[in-house]
Symmetry: C2
Subunit: 336 residues, 2 copies
């Protein structure tokens, strides 16, 4: 597909990925967690084109948070082992894909979900165990019972998963490691009752300290955001939102056309590296020009605080090498 | 188009509009601001189908925050007088529509934007005046000069606009009215220098107290959200996100499948009317079941804190009458 040659020609607001940084992030992770020891979480980036880049460095298993993400990966022929690392009520859309030969595994944390998985025609499961995050996952003491029930129904039980999401942002790596160990003891205890080959969990914040899972569910590491960048992880921010300055006030502010509809705002405002970002409105961000003067027509790059919901608001990412646009990745795994 | 008959059949998470409440909100506003005294702001709801409902009660002028919103309205044949109440760098997409006969007016707040409007082929402008919100809008003292320059270039200057967005949430109506009066004095002073028929401004929070504009740019009033509902306005919340309960813990929480990717989060968490919503993750919200027990498979309705960015995350709104689905409105004015 044809696209603009340089970033000054991009329609804004635009998601921009710095290719060299992205490549370094992939290289660092695939060195630490090669091949199937990483199961990248596509919820972070929602793009089959980006997932293909992960396949190119050796990762072939993927996990997702939505049925639509699995459908998109199957449709694009990306990945050879897909996990819905989440619960839903209706597995029939996945069952259709299983009938067609797709290799799909579902997380199961209750009798009701197990019944829905069976009814929907999915034949492989992981038992999803709660390890401290108040979200999905069964009591570790129930995991073996659920596994037995699944096997009795003819399903393949491939192992366990447990997401220590509450520990991603624990500030010191040492304290984080200690807390992750406690969480993973719960998961390993469940695994002893469940059996199977897979112990799945972790994320960008715990990838270096979680020695207990044999597959890591990280996704944000490839693009990063300002919140994850506060951790001492070796990944750099590859993602920004390109915006145009559309108004400048002599009172000391400038206004861009990237507002809160272009950013995930749950972790707070985006960051402007050259000065303070004062606030976001629907389609504007107001920047303080105390340090760096701006003119109408200037372009700025703003850094999202949370990568996942930011990307989910856009139709595509533009891949750039400095000022040059070298590729585009459709954000084709949006919605549900 | 065919759609599910009842809400328990809707794919979730789903935006749901309670028809009777929506109709009451439209009736209250069109009583207070009939016909062209209201210029509904489509940024709030991003749907030509919803805009048609506003046409049906007598409003034919619309304002927008993006070029894409104008393009969508023109494409759908909705509205007879469309205002881009915002600045952008490239007006050629609008100029193409003007060539084809569309009635489009652009807000102008600087010489650079005026030059871009002329270059793009838009022939009607409002002078956009800063009235206290640190965002777009020229110094009121510059408005007359910009108008003269526009007229000298052959443009029609239709009047002024000034958005008092910083005053929408001032808690008491009396204090709000006093502050709006001060802001509108700036706008009226600019109007004396600019001329033209239109004095445009205001929003849902100030619609009842802003006596000085002759067209009101409100949009959120039709659907509302929990933040606007804290004001003493006569509009009720018509919009919710329908979600499924996918996991329940004996420790006192339940998890739904509507997370922060289904809500605008800049005004905080959504509200669950039957208990506490503890937190949102990408694709989950965790509800406290201390007050209301929930089971896997239950449906809940969660109320967004900010209507505009919530709708921008969805592909459609389902219009309902209690448990019955009676229509769907595509959210067809998304992106840029």
């Amino acid at each position: 597909m044809a696209f603009p040659a340089t970033i000054d020609q991009l329609p804004t607001p635009a998601l921009v990925v710095e290719r060299s940084v992205f490549d370094r992030n992939l290289a660092v992770m695939s060195e630490a967690r090669p091949g199937d020891r990483l199961r990248p979480h596509v919820k972070a980036f929602k793009s089959t084109a980006l997932a293909r880049e992960m396949e190119a460095v050796g990762h072939h298993r993927f996990c997702t948070a939505t049925v639509a993400e699995i459908e998109g990966l199957v449709g694009a022929g990306v990945g050879t082992d897909l996990l819905l690392a989440n619960e839903t009520l209706d597995y029939r859309r996945l069952g259709v894909l299983v009938e067609q030969g797709a290799d799909i595994t579902a997380a199961v944390d209750s009798d009701e979900i197990l019944a829905a998985v069976i009814a929907g025609g999915v034949r492989q499961v992981l038992i999803d165990v709660e390890v401290g995050l108040p979200r999905c996952g069964c009591d570790p003491a129930q995991a073996g019972r659920l596994a037995d029930k699944a096997r009795a129904a003819g399903l393949e039980v491939r192992g366990v998963m447990g997401y220590e999401g509450h520990l991603m942002m624990v500030p010191s790596a040492e304290r984080r490691r200690a807390k992750v160990e406690t969480a993973m003891e719960l998961l390993l205890a469940a695994h002893r009752d469940v059996g199977g080959d897979i112990v799945s969990g972790g994320g960008t914040g715990t990838y270096a300290v979680n020695e207990w899972v044999n597959e890591m569910q990280a996704g944000s590491y490839c693009l990063m955001d300002t919140q994850y960048a506060t951790l001492e992880v070796p990944f750099e921010i590859a993602l920004s939102v390109l915006a145009d300055v559309v108004s400048v006030s002599p009172k000391g502010w400038a206004v861009t056309n990237a507002g809160l509809k272009a950013f995930g705002m749950d972790h707070g405002n985006p960051t402007w590296p050259d000065g303070d970002l004062r606030f976001c409105s629907d389609e504007h961000s107001t920047l303080s020009t105390d340090v760096t003067p701006l003119r109408v027509g200037d372009q700025v790059r703003l850094l999202p605080a949370h990568v996942d919901p930011t990307i989910a608001k856009h139709e595509r990412m533009w891949v750039v090498d400095g000022e040059f646009v070298i590729d585009q990745w459709p954000v084709d795994l949006r919605h549900w």
